[in-house]
Amino acid sequence: MTTAILKQPAEPTEPTAARKPNRSFVHGLITNKKALVGMIVMLVFIALALLAPVLFPGDPSRITAMASMEPSPEHWLGTTAKGQDVLALTVHGSRSSLFVGLTVGFASTFIGILVGLASAYFGKFIDEALSLATNVFLLLPGLPLLVILAAFLQPGLGTVILVLVVTGWAGSARVLRSQALSIRSKDFVAAAVVSGERAGRIMFREILPNMASIVMGTLLGCVIYGIGAQAGMEFLGLGDVSTVSWGNNLFWAGNEGALLTGSWWVFVPSGACIALVAFALALINYAVDEVTNPRLRKIKTPKNTERSAAK
């Protein structure tokens, strides 16, 4: 969805002004070292997730007799206490984790966009009501709320996604609302209102394309949140324990006492994968920040060297 927004051709309202910064944004991202590293890591993980059934055919959670083996040429990352190949579990786990993370990320960003745009465009009572709801959800402690919701609902993939979206949308709504508010007050929006454009068109075709970079940042943040929170939830045993995912791998590792028996190889890969993905997304996020916020850009001659030179 967001990629569509990013690639959307510039609006007829300000053709030259919108197209140029857009291209320099993409250019800035590609030449930014942080963004490049982040994107490569992400592509590798997505490729692994897609190729998992080809690389490791069969059910990765099949129980075999080769229990708790150290990493060896046959099992690169060793086996669990139940004799499952850790590498296969990790690669297969990326499917569920990335799927849930991306779904939660897109869904929460989408709700955030709707709420933020509606708040900013309609203002008055609607803004008051939506802001109140957003702030209440922001303030309610996330993890306990997540636990309570998961405890009362039927366990399953749908519940995990639903719960994570319920606890995750408010942050993006707040950020997007404040950005939409500042664009709402611009002249070209006023011009669109006067020329009689419909509300939906103004919100999605006038305001939204102008906040593409912040939507992108929000989306990345939401995906990071989704992957991390899913892992935390599953680690607590509140997910669907029958699926293979990074969080469930860690749940089983804890359950089978992998650390107490010293089988560190069971526990390290899944956590490292979550960290790598989150790190890659965070890198892209910071790069987006740097490209769009000139104040944070690397400066050739820092102000402070001048200052210390002047001393």
Partner: protein, 325 residues
């Protein structure tokens, strides 16, 4: 004053929302929680206690609004029922015995993370492009990417199991009598190191980057140039002029961090079997102890709201712009 009242109203609405959520959830859940719990206690419950639970969790023939009024009344008068897993201890007593540990763990971690993080942020912004500024942020972002519980388990394995430097579970050694003796306090401190350290490690990055970015903006203000022109010592400009004015967003983060203290330390508490409210909440969920679950959630929410309200009051004191508004 108007600002404070408005904030107070907001927190009351938020609290009402969480009570209502608590009220609605069991009523929309398929199945009958009371009979499930009844099976757990193996008939130890008195008929009137079962009746009270039925009312609380909505296995009830009365109209919804009547149940709602009743529920509100019970919550506001502090009647949260009895715990099932620790039958027949009242929920409020179970919570009271645990909230202290959570505050100790979360509070210690928060204070250390905020102090170290802000200080690093100040230094990074002051020496822009220096060692702290270019080396630490990527490292801290990387550490911050690890799932909390995973880092905690790693620390537990490395420092607790392999090296044996610190105790790995509970808040104090089993069998030690809680008392204000150096022995006991030292023991509690030793048990606190690992859980607190893991929280500090993952949260320090956020503090540092936040402070750094605000401080960079502050550094380009005219009064900083003025202070330099006057020939003030750089250290004084850094702390008294730039950092002091860049502090405000950190105060807000501190309020949110306080909320995190009660709710967010949950995973850490679970990994280290630390007897706080988060650990108890998970136990309550696993033991189908619905009254305790609800009570814990409300307590945690109330604590978060209270912390934020206190920060709001502090904000009025710190920022004159809020006062004149």
């Amino acid at each position: 004053m108007r600002f404070i009242l408005r904030r107070l109203g907001f927190y009351l609405i938020a609290f009402w929302a969480s009570i209502t959520l608590n009220f609605l959830l069991p009523r929309f859940m398929p199945g009958d929680p009371v009979s499930r719990m009844f099976a757990r206690t193996q008939g130890k419950m008195q008929p009137e206690q079962i009746e009270a639970l039925r009312k609380m969790l909505g296995v009830d023939k009365r109209p919804l609004w009547e149940q709602y009024v009743d529920y509100m009344h019970n919550i506001l008068t502090g009647q949260m029922g009895v715990s099932i897993s620790r039958f027949p201890t009242p929920v409020t007593e179970v919570i009271a015995s645990q909230i202290g540990w959570t505050l100790l763990l979360g509070g210690t971690a928060l204070v250390f993370a905020a102090m170290i993080g802000n200080l690093l942020g100040i230094l990074a912004a002051w020496r822009r492009g220096g060692a702290i500024d270019s080396g630490l942020p990527p490292l801290l972002i990387f550490i911050g990417s690890f799932p909390y519980f995973w880092l905690a388990m790693g620390a537990l394995y490395l420092f607790g199991v392999v090296l044996g430097w610190f105790p790995i579970r509970h808040a104090f050694t089993d069998g030690l009598e809680p008392a204000f003796t150096w022995e006991f306090i030292g023991d509690v401190g030793a048990h606190l190191v690992l859980p607190a350290l893991t929280i500090v490690l993952v949260s320090i990055g956020g503090w540092m980057l936040g402070m750094r970015n605000t401080m960079i903006a502050t550094n380009s203000e005219d009064y900083i140039t003025m202070a330099e022109a006057k020939g003030l010592r750089p250290g004084r400009i850094m702390l008294r002029y730039a950092a002091r004015n860049a502090m405000l967003p950190s105060v807000t983060s501190f309020g949110m961090g306080l909320g995190f203290v009660v709710g967010g330390a949950m995973l850490t508490e679970v990994v280290f079997a630390y007897p706080g409210v988060g650990y108890q909440l998970l136990n309550a969920v696993q033991g189908l102890d619905y009254p305790l679950m609800q009570g814990l959630f409300l307590t945690i929410t109330a604590a978060v709201l209270l912390a934020n309200f206190l920060v709001d009051i502090l904000y009025v004191r710190l920022d004159p712009r809020v006062r004149s508004n």
